[in-house]
Subunit: 97 residues, 7 copies
């Protein structure tokens, strides 16, 4: 079973909360907040341009990303795993290395 | 009797609530929430472009889709069956396989 | 006496409430709600494009339509009959057959 | 003394309330509401386009019109007569015959 | 000392309240309201177009104008006289004769 | 040390409150309000156009300006002096002579 | 580990609060406010244009900047250091010298 986001939407697997303490990038948060970073698992086939054409997304599957505080509210469960769907514009940055 | 959505609108048959427990994709929800997935039963003939032209929709009849939490409020009954009408942009992703 | 909607506006004769029980398409509603479907009785000569041109409407006189819950609030009486005026974009779908 | 609306604005003389009972088009209203129809007495020289050009208005002096419920709040008195100024887009339809 | 509005802004000298009773155009108002008409005393050098060009304004110095109820709140004092600055789009009409 | 506003932003040195009583232009204000006029001390290199190009600003360093009531809230201190940063569009007019 | 902002986003290292008293530019603030200035540590590869192209950003790594009061709320921790992510448009000016 495969999820194919439409247009400029992106599916992200949020990092485990345990990973928050392993160093690297975390969003400062109260103890009950979930980390706003994860890994891209699927990307749409492009944002719609005014003339009806498409602009390919900047992100690709496997990218590590940081996203906005309110971007994580649309979730789906795929084969038992919870994933987040958001627009690419709600993703702030890619983390490398 | 046939329903023909205008422009970028799409008609979706929501999955039965029983299907929620069969595995696959579901939106986490309280017991009383309806599943935010379904099957496309009709699509409009294209979104309107700034120059008056049309952009064909990405979805087609038969596609399995996941849609936004608030996308399911416009319903019609066709030959006794309740269907949902929404804009294609309110649909997050297509599910394959 | 004739009503000529401007630009992208459309005039609709709402179905009688009695028709609600005849089957076909109805919007689920409490007993006091009016049906959100009807027949197009007049259409404007086209939506205005950015360059000042016109885009002809998709609907034509005689089309059976389903419209949004809040689209029915602008009414006029023509020769004693109450009609609704809305933008074409407030109409969700055409019903055929 | 003459009033010349700018751009896409239109000046309308509202029908007398007595005319409401003569038949024809009226907006259903409580006893204290004013009729939302009238006659165009002046039109602007065109809506501004994105490129700075003008799009001539669809209405002309003498047209009988129906306008929106909230379109009638900007009034001027010209030689003792109260007139309404609105954008052409706030006018729903022209009445003929 | 001279005031030069930028772009699509216009400077207007509001009519004296005494003029309200001399006939001609007045906005119906409670006793404490100021008249929403006046004379243009300066105009900007043009509205900015999308491509960075300018569209010359329709109004010129000396025009008698009627403006919106909320357009009169930005005032400046020039050599002791209170003037109003507004966008040209907040002006409804020019009065001639 | 030098401040270089980005794009369409402008840095303004607000007039001293004492200058308010010297005549010329002032915004009517309660005793505790600051004057909404000043002198331009730095301008950005141009507003961004839709095609990514730049439109040079109308103002230049040294211009005396009047600005909007709410335009003065973003302040910076440069070498001990408080300055205001605003978009050029928040400036109403240039004062000459 | 490296952070790569998407499109028109910029990563800024906020100045230490101690630096506030060293002179130079500071935003007037209550004792508990953080300084709204810092140094650019990463920039996106360009803002998206209407036609799908990119406009390179004006800022580059190492620039000293002043940013808006509400621009500092999206923070990430990179290798233990807290950084701010914002759109370039939320940055008011570059400080030189």
């Amino acid at each position: 079973m495969k999820i194919c986001p439409l247009y400029d939407r992106v599916v992200v697997r949020r990092n485990d909360e345990e990973e928050k303490s392993t160093g690297g990038i975390v969003l400062p948060s109260g103890a009950q907040e979930k980390p706003n970073q994860g890994e891209v698992v699927a990307v749409g086939d492009g944002a719609v341009l005014d003339d009806g054409g498409r602009r390919p997304l900047a992100l690709k599957v496997g990218d590590k990303v940081v996203f906005g505080q309110y971007a994580g509210s649309n979730t789906v469960k795929l084969d038992g795993e919870e994933l987040i769907i958001m627009r690419e514009d709600e993703i702030y940055a890619r983390i490398e290395g």
